[in-house]
Symmetry: C2
Subunit: 333 residues, 2 copies
């Protein structure tokens, strides 16, 4: 992602996130067929990041900046992905690290923070409670809270997702980008990235509609009541002509299975929301069948297996004997 | 990985694994310091693969070949990672897919196969039982079992891990490669890759010692009693002057935490074994402090969180109040 360093708020050489970014843009032919659209792409941020979500992008900028400012301790309020990223990048950078998360997070995401060795503090409350507490702590302890007191730098990292997909499309903006909105900063920065590339003359004036997606559901990483960049996200979406949509739990799980069974990509619940909503936007005509569309799939399904556990188990159990398998085959037919 | 197509057994254009391979070779400075060695690298196959393990390499070759042969159904016996890879790649290629696994596998690995939509058959037995049953089934059903009847093609995919790390080292072979040995094919093919690059004049005669690692423990992906390529692996190791080692459960968990807390890389249990053994080889002088060494970290920790669940939980739970946090800080100090 640091190929775009000139457009990111770091002075001098970036010191974090060497192996972050430039994730694949997958031409999703099977999925496009299933949805009845001609040109569909997945910006696959489930892979090629150290902690398998787009949060590695924002943390790469935040920690480079925190070190420039001379902080020795980094911290964050998180629903999981950000915690994983901050903990991992802090370990590499040898910074002290405090992670604040809601107490009820998915086990995979908690273990995937603890393993890097930070101090993890679980808060008996929702994400908004965690966030408020961190603001208070930030007033007392001289720490870099990546998504609070150094948020303006952090958020700029999101632009790289959009920079990359434009480069990968041959320096063209798509007609639609569907992206998850939790705090709202990704959606806001996609808008900013489009604008910057246009100002620099790298692309024509973009006519891209940005569609934010939100659930209130099993997708814990999006369940934020008081989004930090909410107002800017709304502006960005409105100015682009995009529309917001939501998805139910059943639609989310179905979408996770659809993207896996057509494109071999295992997304976390947030990506399920993104696809479920894209499907609706295609069905109701907001996305036309001839309009190039990019889905931002921002996190990895291995972190939220709980969401699928009782919804995919159609496996069969048999003894290790050929006759048992023959019998199963006659039953399955 | 298809940059090395000329050295892989496919005719014509490969049709699978477009987004597989060329994983990072990380210069592991923090970890090297911790181990008392100068030049240590991690070949990080936990990232940049569709299903986050080196099995995507072998499956990319196997499925390209299966399609060349005209198979419409692919299958495998697996301890998890291979199942994930076959299921995902089969979905992309629109092939029918049967997955055979031991019934007691980690939940994450089972869900991470089911999500792609294959038929999953869980066998009440160990991996050797599963493997034997698959050989029998392969005698009756006209399916491509990637690690059985088309194994010779499949196994060649492992060479790409070694090709890549040599290219990434500037076309030089390291003094040591430490790699996990389950069926033994990775270790065998590392030896073959070194030889091929030498024959082609791409590197000097390699003087690389290959060290296989094996546990009999929580690392289920390595717990194979009757390794298919065992004899060849032994030959490869012996000819290179390498030594085999094993690790205990506690050593594995400690090593998983060490690599995470120094390099921000979250490995599955097999990678824990690799590091634990490397540590011993350094301590007992088999790996000298000045000898460039590569650790093959072949799978992702998110698939085996169970192994860590009660061993990393040093998190604290507090109410969302500043006073609660102040109190915690005095207790932690």
């Amino acid at each position: 992602m640091w190929r775009y360093a000139d457009l990111l708020p770091v002075d001098g050489e970036p010191t974090d996130g060497t192996h972050t970014g430039f994730t694949p843009l997958v031409r999703a032919k099977n999925l496009a067929d299933a949805l009845g659209i001609k040109e569909l792409y997945i910006k696959d941020d489930t892979v090629c990041h150290p902690t398998f979500s787009f949060k590695d992008r924002v943390v790469a900028v935040a920690l480079s900046k925190a070190k420039e400012f001379g902080f020795d301790t980094v911290s964050c309020a998180s629903t999981g992905n950000l915690a994983n990223a901050v903990a991992a990048h802090a370990a590499i950078a040898k910074l002290n690290c405090f992670i604040f998360i809601p107490a009820d997070l998915e086990v995979g995401k908690v273990v995937a923070s603890l393993v890097y060795g930070p101090t993890v503090v679980r808060i008996t409350g929702n994400y908004d409670d965690v966030n408020r507490l961190c603001s208070e702590i930030g007033g007392i302890y001289p720490w870099a809270f990546v998504n609070i007191n150094i948020r303006p730098f952090y958020a700029e990292g999101s632009k790289t997702l959009c920079f990359e997909l434009i480069e990968q499309l041959g320096w063209k903006a798509p007609a639609h980008i569907v992206a998850p909105a939790a705090g709202g900063s990704l959606v806001t920065k996609i808008g900013k990235a489009l604008k910057e590339f246009h100002i620099l003359g790298l692309i024509d004036k973009p006519n891209t509609k940005i569609h934010p997606v939100r659930p209130n559901t099993i997708a814990k990483s999006l369940a934020i009541g008081n989004p930090a960049d909410g107002i800017y996200a709304v502006d960005t979406v409105r100015n682009s002509g995009g529309v917001g949509e939501h998805a139910t739990d059943i639609e989310i799980v179905d979408a996770i299975k659809l993207i896996a069974s057509t494109e071999g990509i295992f997304t976390e619940t947030a990506g399920g929301v993104t696809l479920a909503v894209a499907k609706k936007l295609i069905e109701n005509g907001h996305i036309g069948p001839d309009e190039p569309t990019v889905l931002a799939i921002t996190g990895n399904g291995l972190k939220t297996v709980e969401a699928l556990e009782n919804k995919t188990d159609i496996s069969h159990i048999i003894a290790p004997q050929l006759n048992a398998f023959r019998k199963l085959m006659t039953e399955v037919d």
